[in-house]
Symmetry: C2
Subunit: 264 residues, 2 copies
């Protein structure tokens, strides 16, 4: 818990360090200088003029987005971006930097595990040639093993292996893509009970290792929500423990933007 | 419209200029340098260790907050902060800077006009001794003149006079308070029809003059929503044209934080 709190505080610094590849120890960097350096390195955030930004993941990313091909084929179509963190982050980017010409897509699909992202990766990621690719996946990789009606028999080793392979494949096809790997998270309420732990923590750690191996920006959503529950109870952020409320999604969007833009 | 777009782009630069009192012309300042300088001046944002932050206004700020004295007497109580932009901005601050010890209150009351803020100002503002005071008021000052059931006979001159007096009184009692004046806004849908215009624009301009006279941070919410409707229709942001949806509130929180924190 203590470690997670520190992670939250170090979010922007870490985002910057990942972004720039600097070898400075996070703890040794003064906050202000670091934040300024992150701004100076903002070009490496991938948020360049006309950047294609793709959100990928499961239901948390999907968030009820339209499947109408007339909408999904075009960027920046509000119904095709859903109503979750991806849509809120997209709105903040499109409104605050309207001249930047960002092209934002959401291809999250409810229920997806990492191997299901891989199955549709050519169409739903590589073909879009993103400059910034954000992935949030992992909660179903565990949840579906706990639900006897689904009976998925994956393991954390399979999750990490598949995730690693997916990112390697992406790097080969898109060597310049800016990678954002979001930490899977749960709130301890609703459908989330003690059966999830400590196994869920191993999935989070695996996502973190994949991010570290590929110099991805890591967005520590679990650490963020661990702080958030000191301010309001778990079900304020996600009634069923998995799917964020509008308050949870808004907080995620804010943290996502801070991490990816290096606090700019 | 063109002018408003420019305002939106210049938001953080303007926030910084107001914050620091620098005499630089906004247009002449390079974006990156300005953003960095704003970070270096972040202490003047009022967001210092233990800062008391107070949100004041009408229903848009209120957003269904609890009136339970056991909750409203304490800072950072989620139900007492409502479910609008104030609560979302508070959550972002409390979670991303959990060690800062901010004490955040919401005293917005649905239906309030500026003279009604004045009536309860001793208790609901001055007694709390805010370090940062954010005010969003003005939509009812016009709306209630358009509704024959209410029959309020205020004018824009009365609004500006009362607003000016309220801010002067605040400055006398709290000379070091960091002032944030939010632009009143409407979306052209729901209850908002042509009868609102061009009069509503005069209320916005009056709020802007009050901000300028007092070196307040000005949060250009109307300009923000004017950009936002290029991305999604007006009722996506506020179904009735006045009260923001969760998407509208999330966008407001993001812009509020950017303006007040000087993009930090």
């Amino acid at each position: 818990m203590k470690h997670q709190t520190v992670e939250t505080h170090a979010l922007n610094r870490r985002g910057f360090l990942k972004t720039s590849g600097a070898a400075l120890g996070a703890a040794s960097v003064a906050g202000l200088a670091s934040a300024c350096r992150s701004l100076q390195d903002s070009s490496s955030s991938g948020m360049t003029q006309g950047a294609v930004i793709l959100f990928q993941g499961d239901s948390i990313t999907d968030a009820g987005r339209s499947r109408d091909p007339a909408l999904t084929a075009q960027p920046n179509q509000s119904p095709a971006l859903g109503s979750g963190y991806a849509s809120l982050a997209a709105a903040a980017l499109l409104v605050s930097q309207s001249a930047a010409g960002f092209k934002i897509y959401n291809r999250g699909i409810s229920g997806n595990k990492v191997f299901q992202l891989a199955e549709r990766w050519t169409t739903d990621c590589l073909a879009l040639q993103p400059d910034v690719l954000s992935i949030l996946v992992g909660v179903n990789d565990l949840w579906h093993t706990l639900d006897p009606r689904i009976g998925y028999n994956g393991t954390v080793e399979i999750y990490e292996r598949d995730y690693q392979a997916l990112v390697e494949r992406t790097r080969r096809a898109l060597p310049r893509v800016k990678l954002v790997i979001c930490e899977p998270f749960v709130l301890r309420c609703g459908a989330v009970n003690n059966r999830w732990f400590p196994e869920f923590d191993r999935y989070r750690a695996a996502a973190r290792r994949v991010a570290d191996r590929h110099q991805a920006v890591f967005v520590p959503f679990q650490s963020m929500f661990d702080e958030a529950i000191k301010f309001a109870p778990p079900d304020h952020w996600a009634k069923d423990g998995v799917h964020p409320s509008s308050a949870g999604a808004s907080l995620m969007a804010y943290f996502w933007l801070q991490a990816v833009r290096g606090k700019s």
